[in-house]
């Protein structure tokens, strides 16, 4: 499966290793990781919750769009659910293409659409015990209509 949600730690090496293709002169990989600061608050850990059946369908659509828009050979994306600590990989996108331009462009497209469209929610747990659901809409405008 090219797109999937997982409750287990993501192994970039295993995923990238599956993208071998003798035609591919380029492999672009993006890792989204848990960072220690958001909006000035010290983050201790994150929790991802997902509406998995729809996230996986919409994730497959995004990869399909990337394959039709860019000259790429293969694309994979995997996104975590559950609790993650600082530095853990939350999302990984890997794209193999003949040339680097399409690999970079498709990788960027996939991560941007993933963040904007997939029914996945992030709760940040801060130093001192407070926590908050993060709403990208707060920063980036309302969710896309349909």
């Amino acid at each position: 499966m090219a797109f999937r949600m997982t409750g287990s730690p993501i192994s970039p090496a295993a995923l990238v290793g599956g993208l071998g293709d003798p035609r591919a002169g380029a492999l672009a990989v993006f890792e989204g990781r848990v960072r220690d600061l958001n909006d000035g608050r010290a983050v201790q850990e994150l929790e991802y919750e997902a509406y998995v059946p729809l996230a996986e369908k919409e994730g497959e659509r995004i990869l399909e769009e990337a394959r039709s828009r860019f000259e790429i050979l293969r694309a994979e994306c995997v996104h975590r659910t559950g609790r993650l600590g600082l530095g853990d990989v939350a999302v990984l996108v890997a794209v193999a293409a003949v040339h680097r331009g399409a690999a970079f462009d498709a990788c960027r497209y996939i991560i941007d659409e993933t963040k904007a469209r997939l029914p996945i929610w992030k709760k940040e747990h801060y130093e001192g015990g407070a926590s908050e659901w993060i709403s990208c809409a707060k920063r980036d405008g309302p969710p896309p209509g349909r």
Binding site: G32, L54, A55, V91, L118, P119, I120, P143
Partner: protein
């Protein structure tokens, strides 16, 4: 005529409702009507225009008619990645 609907809640809606899913008996004819009914009953803070809705695991417009047995999910602003 009342319909039996399966509703799932995620993230802030799940916390405001205090549970992850329930079966609801409703006279609502559209997804929008169902949300307003549940919002009034449970005090959800988010207005419908901040949410999206999925019926039977597909995104749908708010005006989508709902039928007995449908599975409905209200989708708060997302923050994956």
């Amino acid at each position: 005529m009342k319909k039996r609907l399966h509703v799932r809640y995620f993230a802030m809606l799940r916390e405001q409702r205090g549970l992850g899913d329930e079966t609801v008996s409703s006279g609502a004819s559209t997804a929008a009507e169902l949300y307003e009914e549940l919002r009034a009953r449970h005090g959800f803070t988010l207005p419908a225009d901040r949410l999206r809705v999925a019926v039977n695991d597909e995104f749908e417009p708010w005006g989508r008619a709902i039928a007995d047995g449908d599975s409905v999910v209200f989708i708060p602003p997302v923050s994956g990645g």
